[in-house]
Symmetry: C2
Subunit: 342 residues, 2 copies
């Protein structure tokens, strides 16, 4: 028997749990023979959902967890107290080596805290960034950090750049990915204190392909493959994608409904529009990995449907097979060696 990529999945997390999570898990194991899913959560509920599907029982196990961490709960407290929750139990399965990865659509805070506290960081990694793929006119870019690590230091941003480059090259197949730092102008002397201190460090980093500053305006056009910034700014970028898109599409719809003539036109353009606009939906790329942990933790949108859960699970295969964490360890230990030589 070949060795599986073992993925623990939070069956209780997200707006559509457990139905869509269970469905996504089944679709993932049916799509790829290399993956085994451990559905963690309330066993009776999960079993009930599973009745509707056929799948190879060898590839899907249910692990009972009595408790559920709610999105509104303070994450640190929840992780500490709810030892029998799906998130905590699944995180320990990754820590203990039973699983290679964990996928959750549940509380972002709890996933971020649990990742650091339970799964733990790779030695030398200062902070594990949450790194979603964002749609661009050219394809996708990796934006990091979008997590809860606010007030980052320059050395952290350099690590984000290295880890992001490994991910884009090995998982997404982008050769020599272009790394940009989010700035308020293209010139080197522009920016806030953090950017000004980080810029020369990135410039002198031989392991990455640093192309300089990227203005927010140019991100949706695909100005860089790996976009580095501290988490507050990353969060604003990610949320502006959602906010501007949704407001604008709302306007487009209103415009189309405003006259009889435009209503007729709308009927004709609708199918074509739907296809192209789908490529600009931030949620379709499945999960955002939390990079730099001893194992893989993937956070998918709270509103994830089965297809995103499935994609998030399948994403774990490339992560393991491409030995992303070994490559990250290598990058980070190069840093240690450089420090020793100085």
């Amino acid at each position: 028997m070949a060795e599986y990529v073992n993925v623990a999945v939070d069956a209780m997390g997200g707006d559509n749990a457990p139905a869509e999570i269970v469905k996504g898990a089944v679709e993932a194991v049916n799509a790829d023979k290399r993956v085994k899913v451990f559905l963690v959560g309330k066993e009776p509920v999960i079993r009930e959902e599973l009745k509707a599907y056929s799948y190879d029982a060898e590839q899907l196990e249910v692990v009972h967890a009595e408790e559920v961490i709610e999105t509104a709960e303070p994450p640190v407290m929840a992780i500490r107290r709810k030892k029998d929750s799906s998130i905590v139990k699944a995180m320990y399965m990754v820590k203990n080596g039973e699983c290679d990865a964990f996928v959750s659509a549940g509380s972002t805070g709890a996933v971020l805290v649990g990742g650091q506290v339970i799964v733990g960081r790779i030695r030398g990694v200062e902070r594990p960034p949450l790194a979603p793929l964002i749609p661009t006119e050219k394809g996708v870019s990796l934006l990091l950090d979008c997590g809860a690590n606010v007030d980052a230091r320059p050395s952290m941003l350099v690590q984000f750049a290295k880890m992001g480059s490994v991910y884009m090259e090995s998982v997404m197949g982008v050769k020599n990915p272009r790394v940009g730092i989010v700035n308020i102008g293209a010139e080197e002397e522009k920016g806030n204190a953090l950017v000004k201190e980080t810029f020369p460090l990135l410039k002198n980093c031989p392991e990455i392909n640093f192309i300089g500053s990227v203005e927010a305006r140019d991100i949706p056009a695909g100005a860089a493959d790996v976009i580095v910034c501290e988490a507050f700014v990353g969060n604003v970028i990610l949320k502006m994608y959602e906010g501007v898109s949704s407001a604008l599409l709302h306007q487009v719809k209103q415009g189309m409904m405003s006259t009889l003539r435009s209503k007729m036109g709308a009927l004709l353009v609708k199918p074509a529009l739907k296809t192209t606009l789908k490529s600009f939906d931030t949620s379709q790329y499945g999960g955002a990995p939390l990079l730099g942990l001893n194992g893989l933790v993937v956070k998918t949108h709270g509103s994830s449907k089965a297809v995103e859960v499935k994609n998030s699970i399948l994403q774990c295969i490339a992560f393991k097979e491409e030995k992303i964490n070994e490559k990250i360890k290598e990058q980070i230990s190069l840093e240690d060696k450089a420090a020793e030589n100085n």
Copy 2:
């Protein structure tokens, strides 16, 4: 003779200078009897442009300035050295009281530096924020700071909130404007160090209507009338508006051109779409005021056409008649008094 609102206009600034600037100035004086424009720049060139128009000569003067500050020039140096530039000369006209306001589509850096160095801050104002109006589904919001004041302190953000409230209430006619601080979650305990320190100060500020945190996602929907943040974040928000809109509209156009059916539909929806999408264009609201100066300085888009120049000039009338600066002075001196009482 009634007293004019005297506005100095940088005839040489922006991508479409001098033609569109001169045209906009003429349109402004023809639209409103209360305004007098001083077109500052190379006199022969301006006179040549003016030949095409008719206007009340009483309302429009030309002031010669030999030099031009280019967008690419380092602003501090440019302001110091080019004493005979349109920007420096016009700024001195405001400082000396010859003019009430200055409008420029030229170098943002030079306008920001000149505003602080030449026109000067109102006593007690720590930093003058650049405050553009941004389109929302409900109308417009004022976003401040979008200037070059990176790494702001909490007390500065409180002043931004007060000055922004005065502007929205008195110039835009929004009663009791809702003030929000940009944050990465709605809860009070979320945010970076700056936001966490600023939040309680805003909460305890009786002069403003503070509604708490605003997530970037909710800005385009019109979640607050006055949106406070430090300049790096403000710049990212403003640029994401542009970037996401332009990428998305590009996708919409591509979608419409993708099939024969959709092409026919596109012809029908186009006129209606154009009208609604116009309301989501950040450039149409004319200029962004630089608040808190001894006079009004308005920066309009580098790509401004006559209509934006005209709107920027007319905006100065409300600013003067509503005595915005007197109101700002009052707000800031309340602060001094509060400090004395503590």
